[in-house]
């Protein structure tokens, strides 16, 4: 039973998850692009590569905007969170070994203790964001249940992943939880607020273009 489930999650379900993630992301961006062509032609008329990149650069650079300097703790947490979020799954030795077994390709990986620490930073980040949602009145006002669910959806695959890695009690079950929750996370990215990953370059780039090319002002 466990074995069948493992086989399913590692095999067909992984493909489904990747397909939904990449297909869904492609679909969302393409659909939005078409809608923009139809209803928001203004976006294309005013977009400027230089000013879009200028703005994106300032907002991807730690402390590159005034608001990031106004909120140093949030800035550090948000950057560490996002960086670890991307690096851990892509450069974890356990993942790379699985990929090598399947396709015989591999790339350098993170030392295990570093990956472990980074995992906990992601989890701590989720904790920090959740605490902010509870403590800070304006953020609490904006928060809906889905915001907590999204944080949970991120925390679960990371916690269960380390659980399996450290072979803590009931780790085989943790492995299954890890695989299932990670696949769910991948699949919901295009269809929830996590799609901010897809749309960030567009919204920021558009505003950068309007501010830079038309309004001759800075937007960071």
């Amino acid at each position: 039973m466990m074995h069948e489930l493992y086989g399913f999650l590692r095999g067909p379900m992984l493909w489904v998850a990747l397909l939904v993630f990449f297909g869904g992301s492609g679909y969302r961006v393409a659909a939005m692009w078409r809608l923009a062509r139809k209803k928001d032609a203004v976006i294309f008329n005013y977009s400027s590569g230089y000013y879009a990149l200028r703005s994106i650069f300032h907002w991807l650079l730690p402390f590159g905007s005034r608001n990031m300097r106004n909120h140093p703790v949030m800035t550090v947490v948000a950057f560490v969170f996002h960086i670890c979020l991307f690096l851990v799954p892509l450069f974890l030795s356990a993942h790379i070994i699985l990929i090598k077994e399947s396709w015989n390709v591999s790339w350098p990986w993170l030392p295990d203790h570093a990956a472990d620490a980074m995992t906990w930073m992601v989890v701590a980040g989720c904790g920090f964001f959740a605490a902010r949602r509870i403590i800070q009145p304006d953020v609490r006002y904006l928060t809906s249940t889905s915001d907590y669910l999204i944080l949970a959806a991120i925390a679960v695959p990371f916690v269960s992943g380390t659980w399996a890695f450290h072979q803590w009690p009931a780790f085989p079950a943790a492995t299954l939880v890890h695989m299932a929750s990670a696949e769910i996370l991948l699949m919901i990215i295009p269809f929830t607020r996590l799609s901010h990953m897809l749309f960030f370059p567009f919204t920021r780039g558009y505003m950068g273009s309007e501010f830079g090319a038309v309004r001759k002002a800075r937007d960071w």
Partner: protein, 447 residues
């Protein structure tokens, strides 16, 4: 930390809003919202409302939020949560009372100042979303009475203040007469074909501040500018329809303004010291007419003054020596980056300049813009109390010695006057043109 928040839906009584509410049914509300979401709500509406991660990083950008003791309901993203979000989620099936509150939020709790755009990591444009709400209100006929009256004036007379054509011409000739007492050969050239500059102003100038036209004429004269003003509708560059959600009328107003300049074969338009008018001509109205950029060159007075000083067209009789500070108006600073040009002119004409903080693109809005002051007396107290941070910012500049505030925008003038009075700041507010007029050599044409 978490004091209990008022959750009432109390709205300020307003004839325009209440009258519409009495006529509306929930079915009609739903239908209008559905039509607008389908017809006019595009990718921006979708992406902005769907990618906002509810992080609250935009909250502290907003003077309403800061001034109302950080009441969460005034955070920029919270304004969307209270208006557009439920409309979209329920596909328009919201109550008439809900719409009244949404109308009050969109019209009187957001100046469309776009400061929060610079604080949101995604560049989510709350002012675009609030304008969308106003558009819905407009189509429901639910607009605060005072600002709707100015929109009616725009429709009927093509100016904001019910100024009749002969009154307009009379005012210009009266100002010319007055000015000729001071400078005998001064003219306010009407309807001159092919002049270098067509000077356009907002409706309230002939109505309440005709002195500004006088001053502009003196500056034009002293700089030897080849200029004219139109004698026909089209002289008013202001645009309250842009703020009531009446895009069609806005486009019509801008068309008349541009066409007047073209009829006069003028080389470019120079606009008086107004911010919202500049936004409507430079950024919004032209787009609705299908012009990527305005169809003929146009500049705001700040840029025009900057050029005159840069090119040595004006000489000074004296420098203005009262210590002063500058309020950077949203629509020409976040809207056109004229902040350094304004400082150039100030440094040319004044001895002691004191920066207020924050400044330039990060300056706080005056609280009057975006049509909020035009919603009139019912909302005045809320508006002024909703901008206590501006008072604090001004008081800090005053503590450093500033006694005068330069505000190169009509709306900012109105807003700052109310703030100075309410918070007893005892500071004087001036246009850049007031200072230039006072300091330049007026007599000779300097070529």
């Amino acid at each position: 930390m978490t004091k209990s928040l008022p959750t009432d839906l109390a709205v300020i009584p307003d004839k325009g809003v209440d009258g519409a509410a009495a006529r509306l049914t929930p079915e009609r509300v739903a239908r209008v919202i559905q039509i607008l979401l389908a017809e006019e709500g595009g990718a921006r509406l979708k992406v902005y409302t769907e990618t906002c991660v509810h992080c609250g990083l935009c909250s502290e950008a907003c003077h309403f939020y800061l001034s109302n003791d950080k009441d969460p309901r005034f955070a920029p993203a919270a304004k969307v949560k209270q208006t557009l979000d439920p409309m979209i989620r329920k596909n328009g099936r919201v109550s008439v009372d809900f719409m009244k509150k949404a109308c009050e939020i969109a019209f009187t709790e957001c100046n469309l100042c776009r400061r929060c755009v610079m604080y949101c990591p995604f560049g989510i444009d709350i002012s675009y979303l609030m304008l969308f709400v106003r558009r819905i209100c407009h189509r429901l006929g639910m607009v605060p009475q005072y600002i709707q009256d100015t929109a009616h004036s725009h429709s009927a007379t093509l100016n904001q203040m019910w100024v009749k054509e002969d009154e307009w011409i009379d005012t210009l000739q009266w100002q010319e007469d007055e000015a000729r007492d001071e400078i005998p050969d001064l003219r306010i050239p009407l309807e001159k074909q092919g002049a270098d500059v067509m000077y356009s102003v907002i409706g309230p100038e002939p109505k309440f501040r005709a002195q500004l036209i006088y001053q502009a004429a003196v500056i034009m004269h002293a700089a030897g500018v080849d200029w004219t003003m139109p004698a026909t509708p089209g002289w008013d560059n202001s645009d309250m329809c842009m703020y009531t959600g009446d895009s069609e009328m806005m486009a019509r107003l801008k068309k008349v303004h541009f066409e007047t300049a073209m009829r006069l074969k003028t080389k470019r338009i120079v606009m008086g010291e107004c911010g919202h008018a500049f936004r409507s001509v430079y950024d919004v109205g032209n787009r609705h007419l299908g012009w990527k950029m305005p169809p003929l060159p146009m500049v705001h007075a700040i840029e025009f003054y900057y050029e005159l000083f840069r090119d040595g067209k004006l000489s000074l009789a004296k420098k203005y020596d009262v210590p002063l500070t500058l309020h950077d108006p949203c629509n020409v600073v976040r809207g056109r980056g004229l902040h350094e040009m304004a400082r150039f002119v100030i440094h040319k004409t004044c001895t002691t300049f004191i920066e207020m903080h924050p400044n330039r693109e990060h300056n706080y809005c005056c609280g009057a813009g975006g049509g909020v002051i035009n919603c009139g007396p019912p909302y005045a107290k809320k508006r002024v109390e909703g901008n206590r941070v501006k008072a604090d910012q001004l008081a800090a500049a005053k503590a450093k010695g500033a006694r005068v505030i330069i505000a190169p925008c009509h709306n900012c003038h109105g807003g700052l006057e109310d703030i100075v009075k309410y918070y007893e700041l005892d500071m004087e507010i001036k246009f850049l043109g007031d200072i230039i007029y006072e300091c330049i050599e007026k007599g000779e044409v300097d070529s």
